[in-house]
Subunit: 474 residues, 2 copies
């Protein structure tokens, strides 16, 4: 890659957070994940600035001190008022926007756009986004006129507009990591809000989505809410004399990172424990406790499977490793209750002193999750709607049992992996029950061939390719 334009990454969560240890010393924690790794690798070839929220108390101290520099990385932390941030994050971005993007509202009764949501927009989302835009614009100016802003996700929809107002000639990209919903569902938000969001994204030069389906959805919305002229074939939206390119860039993972992780002592220890406890076959799911992940229907499907195929009693368990998510949001707290009830119902219905059908573990334990990746026979990814779903890409890379992937047709990953997975409709629990049986009884040669297909696809389209594709288009 010969391009060396300076990059200014803008995302709510940064690559590094700061804490103080017991002795009062500052501790630097690097964020995990392929995105941070891949972007950090870019610092070798070009200047990289990252603008992110100050999330810890020590982050706020660092923010006050000015900019933090580490090798080729320049980190600009933005401090927010606590109440403003709460409205922005825990009311407007989640659950309001998240539930719209994933079609999760039960619209007969929820949500109501009331003073609470209005405040969350006007005295939360807008000022936080504007503070980001101001910091990003300053960093873009410092980085020089060839610099590119890469703004991330649904927390920061209003940032492109804020940068454009300050720097009319800036080069701006926004990438949305979650699905783009159809126009009607955006109508949950009042006209001024949905128009402002689409108008801001049309202030970009490039708008990125995971899949061609989301690109089409976005273009329809840009027509309907911002009056843009669109060309679906060309992937463009034009408004006010500007033309925005709207492109699919399917995000991926760093295969080397997962090879390393799988060989780490913590993961090997966790894998030993799983092997000691596991029955003959293991159906695995690894998710956050998010209503979009469809955990309750997954248990219902396993329940149906056990009813339909009693010959599998005591021979197979479903291991559900769930990372607690957004506990400050009532909809999430309630969903954890529904998950627990559903798991208990399956275990009670199929009670056996020597066998636990569903093994539900709600905890943040990444080494255990990677260990389980190596051990599954069936991986269930049945999300209701999911921007990409990286579990479907990560786990097959390190699995040691030629495990079979069951994959929801409403995940972004389905566009790339459908021919290697057993596709399911996330609402059809009978189909998911049948898929579990099909996966458990699939011939070894076919299992091997399918998992090889997934690995090849992921290795050829890894996180580096995702970033390279975007930089090429800029």
């Amino acid at each position: 890659m010969t391009d060396d334009r300076p990059l200014v990454i803008v995302s709510n969560r940064g690559p590094i957070r700061f804490l103080r240890d017991a002795s009062g010393e500052r501790v630097v924690r690097r964020g995990g994940g392929g995105l941070v790794t891949a972007l950090s690798a870019l610092t070798a070839s070009r200047p990289l600035t990252w603008v992110a929220s100050a999330l810890t108390d020590e982050d706020a101290v660092v923010a006050q001190e000015g900019v933090y520099e580490d090798g080729g990385l320049r980190l600009r932390l933005v401090a927010h008022d606590r109440e403003e941030y709460d409205r922005y994050y825990n009311v407007f971005a989640n659950p309001t926007l998240w539930f719209i993007h994933h079609y999760l509202w039960g619209l007969a009764l929820e949500p109501s756009v009331d003073r609470n949501v209005r405040l969350a927009w006007e005295a939360g989302y807008l000022p936080v986004n504007d503070r980001f835009a101001e910091a990003a614009a300053e960093e873009l100016e410092l980085a020089g006129e060839r610099a590119v802003a890469m703004v991330h996700d649904y927390q920061l929809f209003m940032v492109p507009d804020g940068i454009r107002r300050r720097l009319p000639h800036a080069l701006i990209q926004h990438f949305t990591h979650i699905p783009w919903p159809d126009p009607d569902y955006w109508r949950v938000l009042p006209e001024d809000i949905r128009s402002a969001i689409h108008g801001s994204l049309l202030a970009c030069d490039v708008v990125g989505m995971h899949t061609a389906r989301y690109v089409r959805r976005f273009l329809r919305c840009a027509e309907e809410f911002a009056g843009a002229e669109t060309d679906v074939g060309a992937g463009t939206a034009s408004l006010g004399g500007r033309t925005v390119r709207v492109r699919p860039y399917p995000i991926s993972v760093d295969p080397a990172e997962f090879r390393r992780l799988a060989r780490s002592p913590q993961v090997r220890a966790a894998a030993t424990t799983i092997r000691a406890e596991r029955p003959e076959k293991l159906v695995l799911r690894v998710d956050r406790t998010d209503p979009s992940k469809n955990i309750v229907r997954g248990f219902a499907a396993f329940d149906l499977f056990l009813d339909d195929h009693p010959e599998w009693r005591r021979r197979v368990s479903m291991l559900a490793l769930l990372d607690p998510s957004r506990p400050d949001i009532p909809e999430y707290a309630e969903y954890v209750g529904a998950i627990q009830r559903a798991a208990r119902a399956v275990n009670d219905r199929h009670y056996d002193a020597d066998w636990q059908p569903v093994d539900l573990r709600i905890s943040d334990n990444f080494p255990e999750a990677v260990a389980a990746y190596t051990e599954y026979d069936v991986l269930l990814v049945n999300a209701i709607f999911d921007g990409m779903n990286l579990v479907a890409k990560e786990a097959p890379l390190v699995n040691r049992r030629d495990g079979v992937l069951i994959l929801s047709e409403n995940t972004g990953a389905y566009a790339e992996l459908r021919e290697y997975a057993i596709g399911v409709n996330p609402f059809d629990i009978q189909q998911q029950a049948n898929a579990i049986h099909e996966a458990l009884t699939m011939r070894p040669a076919e299992r091997r061939e399918r998992i090889r297909g997934i690995r090849e696809q992921v290795r050829e389209h890894d996180i580096a390719a995702w970033i390279a594709g975007q930089l090429r288009d800029l």
Copy 2:
């Protein structure tokens, strides 16, 4: 209209139903509503056949006797197995399809496509639709080769395909009376079902919807689920060498019928009662107890309005006349509970011995509804999504107080009446509260001008125009 093609109307509910009175004599009850009136008027100029379900016990007797003839109308009643009809109507058509078309599912937990829904499709919706198609095909053959089938609504999506298979050269129209949802929300149904539904509609010659928005939605779905080539500008979808025209025909009412009704003794008596009891101003809503109608948020908006404008205490009431709907469907029964709780909450919060803020009446009382049409100062139509909403067209025709219409942007009627109404987002209860205040304080001249606009629009585009437009295109 010089065209005299014979028409075969196919709808679940027919224009006439049969009962037995106390003495055992057969009684014929004509269905009300503009559609029956307008279609019946056609019998003067052309043969009219109507195929409908036998719904009463006496209907089943008539069905067994053969075809019932009355003037120019030939009525063919189709008898169904009771359990099959229950699956078709109370599980698949409602709530499953209805909730999809109106975006009402809370997808985190509902619905699950399980044996219940599968059975409702395979042993309910499909056989009932096929029995309709068989009867319709027979009637089309009897009516001659110039005959046209006009199939109605979401209960009968599979009828066009059933007719086409029997009569490859038949002329078939299907009209959907409810909104057409965006593609993603159709994904609640498994691939085979959503494809079959769209494939069947593409077996028509003309597909009718209420508005241009629904036409666009349908064309997107036809691309995505049936692989049709579409031309949104021309309103066509092509598949397998056939081209289907997809057209907006906004349904309307019969103004003469409402003039007559308003003068009838029952309506005048009911109006006298309302006048005797009413406070200075009346905010009216008239709806079925359907979750799509947004009754609970309407009460919440009235509550907010009273908080914001205490000067209106004791001077204004909200009269909610609600026709009980689909009591055999759990989601509907629960929604009635939510309605009652919400009304009680408003009345308790604003308690006053001499004044009832919300007057909730759940009963089937059409004369009372028409009487209330004459008496309102503000008419609240805040539906979440609504194919057309005829209340918004009917009530202003007979209102005597230059009442102001508050109208949800997600009703079909909004496309025609937006400039004369106060438009609201149905989720935005603050906006609805503000709209109530704006309507109550609007200058008399503006009220008069707006209601005149509605009346002119409805009179110029009445139910006869709706039918004439469709017949012209056939």
